[in-house]
Each structure stands twice: as structure tokens, then as C-alpha cells.
């Protein structure tokens, strides 16, 4: 009999499921990839077969032109892989289509979260706690200082600033996949029904969200409008465009950024942000530690982020954990 969990191997370029010869979120091309969600550091082109939710596959097709070998799996659906490995896709609450993957083999259960959060998000179904032996988690915001405030407070700050400067616009830098659509959907939920203006790079992804049934209200493209149309409006752009020449076409923009990093003043200053909005699609420290307690695994493996602090937390709580030191996962602009 094989040693416990010897069928799952963390390698520098992804987690390898040996009997099925499949990889989870590999950072180099493989025959068969199981992809948790559509962000660039998890979903890459060039695999023979890509197993993911229909939403994630659509996102990958849009972003990376991947068409061949798409193998859709619905949330809650279990597929049988080679070598008697079962894989089940479970909502992760991170972005549209994001999934945790439950792997079962020889009576052993492993959950790989990909990226996740526990807060409500109008653009995707919520994270589901799934009991398992090994819980493979991210730790992007794995420091106790990270507490994401209620998103209603952040929306309130944004709308108050907009109201205080009727001659200007508020330019919100938000990651083009997930964060932008969530911010727009939350603005709608907060009662903001004015048209929202988009940077060109955001348009297709917003349309994709709408195709999957997420209502974003009236969206307009910056390039179709004059400066004066956009006064007292919200404009959404990728973070890289915040301090770009592109923003000169806007009416005296107040620079805002929606990101979990905005909790730290100097991070906001480094990006010349005037209105920091602490909004993240990742679990904060409280969510990470609560999730581990709820899942209550035999052992936690940490893929990326601030793993040292989360390892320390495990030590303090007499829990087993290890850091995997995978390469290629970046701190995205979240």
C-alpha cells in the first residue's frame, strides 16, 4: 500500500495528481490541467485538456484564446479521472466561475482552494466549507493586520466623495476580472443607478459577466464620451491605467483604488491613490483562520502569499501545516 497522500505532489510548477497525471493550476503547459479560476497566475493557455467551470472556460477563451480541449464541469459535479481519482468542483466565492477542487483517492480527501473569500459577492456563489484531510489554501492576506471592512462602508466612502465634488469624476482602479464587476454590482446594490464609465480594457469582461446573468446596470465606454459627460460620474479602469496618460481625458479625476492592500497607508501612497478602498476578493486574516478551523483538516498546505504568519498561527493553535513554495503565483492587484 502506498504511503498516505503520496498520490498528491506539490511541485514548483503546480500540484501534481500522480495516478491521474493531472495538474492543478500549472504554470507551464501540461496534458491535462484542472483550473480553479480565470486569473492569469492560475489559468494559462497551452494545455491539452483544461477542466474548469463553464464560466472559467469562457473567461479563459476571452483572455487567452484557449479553445481546444475545454472540458466543462458544473459546481457540485464529480468527474472520475484516471487512476481512480475523483474531482468535484465547489464554489470558492472568489470571482465568477471560481472553484475549489475536492480530490478523492483511496479514501483520502484533499481540497485545493485556489483563491477564495468568505464575504458575500453578488457576482458569484459563496464559498462552501468542505471537510477534508488536507486543505491546500492560499494566504494572500495572511497577516493579522488584514481585516477587510464591510464593503458597504467602502461604497459609502466612494459615493460620499463623488457627491462632494460634482465637477470631478472618481476614477476607480480595479482588477479587470472580478474586482471591477463586483465594485459595479455593489454600487448598484447601494442604489447608485447613474451610468458607469469603463476603460476599454474592461468592456469585454463586463459583457461576459452580463452574459452569465450578472446585472451591472448602464455601462458606457470612456472613449465614446466627452470630458463633460463624465463629471460627477464613476469611471472604472485597470490599476495600471490609474496614473497613465489615458486618465488625462477625464474631468479632474479623484484617484481611487479597490484593493485589500489599501489597508496599509504607504501602499496607497506608493500608487498615488487619493481615495483608498479596502475591497478584496481574497480571504482576510480572520476569514483564513476561521475557514481552517471550520474545515478542520488533518493538515494545511499553504500555496502562496504571506505563508510565514499563517504557519505561525498553525503552530500557536497546535495544527499541522507546511508551505509549498510554488512559483508563479503573484500578488495580483487585489
Amino acid at each position: 500500500m502506498a504511503a498516505p497522500f503520496s498520490w498528491i505532489r506539490p511541485e514548483p510548477h503546480g500540484v501534481h495528481i500522480v495516478p491521474a497525471d493531472v495538474w492543478i493550476d500549472p504554470s507551464k503547459p501540461v496534458d491535462t490541467a484542472l483550473v480553479t479560476h480565470g486569473h492569469a497566475d492560475h489559468a494559462r493557455g497551452g494545455h491539452g485538456t483544461t477542466v474548469a467551470t463553464p464560466e472559467t472556460l469562457a473567461i479563459m477563451e476571452l483572455r487567452y484564446n484557449t479553445r481546444e480541449g475545454a472540458a466543462p464541469v458544473e459546481y457540485g459535479e464529480t468527474i472520475r479521472l484516471k487512476g481512480r481519482v475523483d474531482a468535484t468542483y465547489i464554489p470558492a466565492g472568489h470571482v465568477l466561475g471560481s472553484a475549489q477542487i475536492l480530490l478523492e483517492h483511496a479514501g483520502e480527501r484533499v481540497v485545493i482552494t485556489g483563491d477564495y473569500k468568505r464575504r458575500a459577492d453578488p457576482t458569484c456563489p459563496p464559498f462552501e466549507v468542505t471537510p477534508c484531510d488536507i486543505f491546500i489554501t492560499e494566504a494572500t492576506f495572511g497577516l493579522p493586520l488584514f481585516t477587510h471592512p464591510p464593503i458597504e462602508d467602502e461604497m459609502g466612502k466612494l459615493l460620499a466623495r463623488l457627491e462632494a465634488h460634482p465637477d470631478r469624476c472618481v476614477l476607480v482602479g480595479a482588477y479587470a476580472l472580478g474586482k471591477a464587476q463586483r465594485v459595479i454590482a455593489e454600487l448598484r446594490a447601494a442604489g447608485h443607478d447613474q451610468p458607469i464609465y469603463l476603460h476599454g480594457a474592461m468592456e469585454k469582461m463586463c459583457r461576459l459577466y452580463e452574459d452569465f446573468g450578472v446585472d451591472l446596470g448602464e455601462l458606457r465606454l470612456v472613449s465614446d464620451h466627452d470630458k463633460d459627460d463624465m463629471r460627477s460620474s464613476i469611471v472604472v479602469c485597470p490599476p495600471s491605467a490609474l496614473n497613465d496618460r489615458w486618465s488625462r481625458r477625464l474631468p479632474d479625476p479623484i484617484t481611487a483604488m479597490a484593493s485589500g492592500w489599501m489597508r496599509v497607508r504607504q501602499r496607497a501612497r506608493q500608487r498615488n491613490v487619493e481615495l483608498p478602498l479596502v475591497i478584496s476578493d481574497h480571504a482576510d486574516w480572520g476569514e483564513l483562520t476561521r475557514t481552517i478551523q471550520e474545515v478542520d483538516p488533518h493538515e494545511t498546505w499553504i500555496t502562496h502569499g504571506r505563508e510565514e504568519a499563517l504557519l505561525r498561527w498553525h503552530q500557536l493553535h497546535q495544527r499541522r501545516a507546511r508551505a509549498l513554495a510554488l512559483v508563479g503565483y503573484e500578488d495580483e492587484d487585489d
Binding site: L145, T147, V264, R269, E274, W313
Partner: protein, 531 residues
């Protein structure tokens, strides 16, 4: 406290100088006394509470959170006050409403080293994270919100439509919460009576010369001495020594307080006597020797005998109650030369003018200066009045070219403030022999500046990719990168293993191209010692 905390946060996130001025002015107009006075004190670094130190904050937090988690968090944020404000646990149950600024100041003033660990938490529990951040900054001095003391005074002047030069004049006569200053500026009361007070007068400062060439018929040249710029004031029987920022440093240099008993305001360079080679002016030791005497609240007899201070005079601002600042430089210079014989030569001499045929000749003289107490040249317009601050075209400083040496990057640490998270503090070394024969690198200095933001990003990446060891927050790199380091001077030092210490080292160029074995040896650095 909420309004003050909101001001601090708004200042942190505001780039525009005018917007900062507007924010501060608006706060001053809308806030009552004495809160706004304490706020001005905080913004101008005027508040200091003895019981609260950065270590107090650290200790308080380590009682409440695991020390490892604290250090990891502090390392990530790069600022103790901010880290603590974010990590402070929310109190259980109901708490009193947030304190006003004056209530907080009163509480802080009442704290002792013994009571601070019990009393400070009571204030913190009443505040939210921005409030706690503002309180920490208020309590430890040094707001670091991108507002200079000068900017705060300009905002004050704007808020109440008074002249900023007048504000500067009165400023040093008063203490937080500046009740008389607000009464004068905001409520139209009489200006504070300062006639018989030994007040600091704002310094006249110089611009770097850079590419400018001046006509020596219009400009006089004198040496720029490498000490600390001071102002000596004697009024109504009292003498004060002020540093460049207007801090009263009389207690650090009591011999200078005793040396002046003529009603006057003098501008000069404070230096210490020392064994000295090469200089003709004589008598001044290097800055290194002076450094032993800086920052002391009391001075031992031994210090006074071994490193006695004196002032090399540049200018006279006032004499016998007569304000001379409205006179042109050449007339003030005559008055200064006339005054000199009345001052004890043990404690005063005159900064000599440098005579040159023309500008090129002057450049040659500057190049040839071997005296380590010389930092370069000053060029002063002969008809310049003594005006506070830096007015273009009146005074120039023309520093000596820096020394250069090739060093190898050894260790890196994250910066703080705007550079938190970036590995921006570098320790570099030179070879202690022939690197091809197995010589080692020994650290010779540390630098934090001299590179652009773009270069910083590249350096940060280099450090992260080339780390071979970690010691807490310090990363040891694989020693594959050469820095051309510029520095003002180098001295013997027992504190460093290499036996040498550099003055004001900064990264001159990053030599991505240069093989490390071609970096300089310790011996090459030692040969650059001037004194």
C-alpha cells in the same frame, strides 16, 4: 481626535501642496482652542511626551499579540505606529467616546514610564484605527505625513491671512498650544511681545550651483565649512544657540552660551577644535569629531576639554538691537569684521573670503582644497539682503565633488514610509584582499538613496531573486552586484569590522555590467581618508 485623525489621513493621501495647505488651513479655521494649537505643535514636530516611545508601542502590542506575528506585520507595513494601529484589538463592551486632542494631550502629559503601560491602552480603546494612528503619531512626534514644519506655518498664515515671516519670527518665542499666536492671528489681539526674547530668526539658505556660472564681481566666495550651521542670539543678558531647524541646542554647547555677551544675532558654522593636517585656516577637526558632541543634553567636562566648540562666523543679523537684515551682504560683512575683535578668539573666528581671479580660477581652488573640514564653496551676491529661506539667485552652495568607490551589495533591508515593502536599504562591502585569492567582503557602509523609483524596483527584484540567507528582516544576497558609491569623506572607525566609516554614502551608479571581483578593496578606500 476624529477631526485631527481625518486631517492626518487626508494629508497622507494628498499629493498637491496647495491641497495640503487648504486642508490644514480649513482644519485650523474650524477647530477650537487649544485643540488646533496642539495640532500645529504636532505638525511642526513640537510635541514630545517623555513616557511614550516607539518601544512603548512595541511593548504594548507584544503583550497583546504573538511577538512573531507582530514582527512579521511590522516588517510588512514598515511603520510601527501604523502596524500597531491596525493590530490593536477592539475592546470588549462599551467604551467612552473618543477623546478630544487636548484631552489626549493632557492624558499623555500625565503619563510616566511607570503608568504608560496602563494609561495609554485606555486612550487607544476609545479610538478607531485612524484615531489610534493619529494618537501614536501625536505621542511619539514625527508625523511623517508629507508636511514640513514650514508648510504647516504657511497654512497657518493662509488660514488667518497673516504674513508667514511674522509667524516664523513669533514661532520660536512660543510653545504649543500657541495661545498668543492664535489670539493674534485669528482674533486680532496684539502680536506676542518678543522684544526682549532671544528669538531664532529664520536662516537664509542657498541653492545648489549646478550648471550656473557667476560673475565674481557680483558674487563673493567663501568656504562652506563642514560643521553645523548655527545661530547665536544674545538679548537682555540671555544667550541661545539655535540649530538650522530652529531647535534650541544651548545645553549641548554651554561654552558658546558663555562666549557671547554682546547683544547680537550671529550666523556661523559650529565646529570643534582638533588635530588637523593640511588646512591653513587651522583648528577645525572633521565632522566626525563634531558628531561625538551632537545630540547630548548634558556635556561632560572631559568632552569640553577634549573637543571644545567654536563658531566660524558667516554673517551678522542684528547688533546692539539694530536689525541688519535689510542691509546688503557687503555692508553686513564689514560690520561683522568690525565686530570680531570684540569677541573672544578662543570661541570665534571669521570664515575667510576666497579670492580668485575669475570663475575658472575659483573652480581650481575648489578642486585643490585638501582640508577635510571644507565641504565646498559658498557664493553670495554682494548686494543680497538677508532674507529667510531660499531665494533664487542670491546665495549658491557649490559642494566639493564626492569621492567614488566600487562596492558589492551584501545585505538588504526593507525601507519605511513610501518605500515600505521595497528592499531599499543596502549594506555593501569591499574586498579585504585579492578576491581571486579567496579574499572576503567586509561591510563598509549603508545607503538608502541615489537611485530612481524605476531602479528601486529593479534592485528590489534583484534582492528577492538573489537571496541566499535571511536574518529576521535582513536578506543576504549572493553578492553579484556592484554599486558605484559616492560619499563625502571616510574616517577610521572602531565600530565597523572594516575599520572605516563613510560619511553620507549614496548609490552613484548601479553597475549591472561590472563583475564583482573588479570591485574595490578596503585598502583603496583607506587611501581616501583625508585627515
Amino acid at each position: 481626535m476624529e477631526e485631527f485623525a481625518a486631517l492626518i489621513d487626508a494629508l497622507v493621501y494628498t499629493r498637491s501642496r496647495n491641497e495640503k495647505l487648504r486642508l490644514i488651513a480649513e482644519y485650523l479655521q474650524n477647530t477650537g482652542d487649544p485643540d488646533r494649537g496642539w495640532a500645529m505643535g504636532a505638525l511642526t514636530d513640537g510635541l514630545d511626551f517623555k513616557a511614550v516611545k516607539s518601544s512603548t508601542i512595541r511593548n504594548l502590542l507584544k503583550e497583546r499579540i504573538d511577538p512573531v506575528l507582530w514582527s512579521l506585520s511590522r516588517d510588512f507595513v514598515g511603520d510601527t505606529a501604523e502596524t500597531a494601529s491596525l493590530l490593536w484589538p477592539d475592546p470588549l463592551g462599551d467604551v467612552a467616546p473618543p477623546p478630544s486632542v487636548s484631552e489626549a494631550v493632557e492624558a499623555l502629559e500625565g503619563m510616566t514610564r511607570a503608568s504608560v503601560m496602563n494609561e495609554l491602552p485606555k486612550l487607544l480603546d476609545r479610538l478607531d484605527p485612524p484615531g489610534r494612528y493619529a494618537l501614536f503619531k501625536l505621542a511619539t512626534g514625527g508625523m511623517r505625513v508629507g508636511v514640513s514644519s514650514r508648510l504647516a506655518k504657511v497654512a497657518f498664515a493662509q488660514a488667518f491671512d497673516v504674513s508667514v515671516d511674522e509667524v516664523e519670527e513669533y514661532w520660536h518665542a512660543l510653545e504649543p498650544p500657541f495661545a498668543d499666536l492664535f489670539a493674534w492671528a485669528a482674533d486680532g489681539a496684539d502680536p506676542p511681545d518678543t522684544a526682549n526674547m532671544p528669538l531664532f530668526k529664520p536662516f537664509m539658505l542657498a541653492h545648489p550651483l549646478e550648471e550656473t556660472v557667476v560673475d565674481l564681481a557680483e558674487y563673493a566666495a567663501e568656504w562652506k565649512w563642514d560643521g553645523i550651521r548655527v545661530q547665536l542670539v544674545h538679548v537682555a543678558g540671555e544667550t541661545r544657540v539655535y540649530s538650522r531647524s530652529g531647535d534650541d541646542i544651548s545645553a549641548t554647547f554651554p561654552e558658546m552660551v558663555d562666549a557671547l555677551d554682546i547683544p547680537a544675532v550671529l550666523d556661523g558654522e559650529l565646529l570643534v577644535r582638533g588635530v588637523h593636517q593640511g588646512g591653513e585656516e587651522g583648528g577645525a577637526a572633521s565632522f566626525n569629531a563634531l558628531q561625538q558632541r551632537l545630540g547630548r543634553k548634558t556635556v561632560s567636562k572631559k568632552m569640553l576639554t577634549e573637543s571644545p566648540a567654536f563658531v566660524r562666523l558667516y554673517d551678522v543679523l542684528s547688533l546692539g538691537g539694530e536689525d541688519l537684515r535689510g542691509l546688503p551682504w557687503h555692508q553686513r560683512r564689514e560690520r561683522l569684521e568690525d565686530l570680531l575683535p570684540r569677541l573672544p578668539d578662543s570661541h570665534f573666528d571669521l570664515s575667510q573670503l576666497v579670492e580668485a581671479r575669475d570663475f575658472d580660477h575659483l573652480a581650481q581652488i575648489r578642486e585643490g582644497a585638501r582640508d577635510d573640514a571644507i565641504e565646498g564653496l559658498m557664493l553670495k551676491r554682494r548686494d543680497s539682503l538677508y532674507v529667510p529661506g531660499r531665494k533664487t539667485g542670491l546665495w549658491y552652495k557649490w559642494k566639493r565633488d564626492p569621492l567614488l568607490i566600487d562596492c558589492v551589495l551584501m545585505y538588504a533591508q526593507r525601507g519605511s514610509g513610501k518605500r515600505s515593502s521595497f528592499y531599499s536599504d543596502y549594506t555593501f562591502g569591499c574586498w579585504d584582499g585579492d578576491p581571486d585569492e579567496g579574499a572576503d567582503l567586509l561591510p563598509v557602509g549603508k545607503a538608502y538613496s541615489g537611485f530612481t523609483d524605476e531602479e528601486l524596483k529593479k534592485l528590489d527584484r534583484h534582492v528577492r531573486q538573489k537571496t541566499i540567507n535571511r536574518f529576521g528582516p535582513v536578506r543576504e544576497t549572493d553578492k553579484s552586484l556592484v554599486f558605484e558609491v559616492a560619499f563625502d569623506s571616510v574616517h577610521e572607525s572602531k565600530r565597523h569590522k572594516s575599520g572605516l566609516a563613510m560619511r553620507f554614502p549614496r548609490i552613484h551608479r548601479i553597475r549591472w555590467d561590472k563583475p564583482v571581483h573588479e570591485a574595490d578593496r578596503i585598502e583603496a578606500l583607506r587611501q581616501l581618508i583625508r585627515d
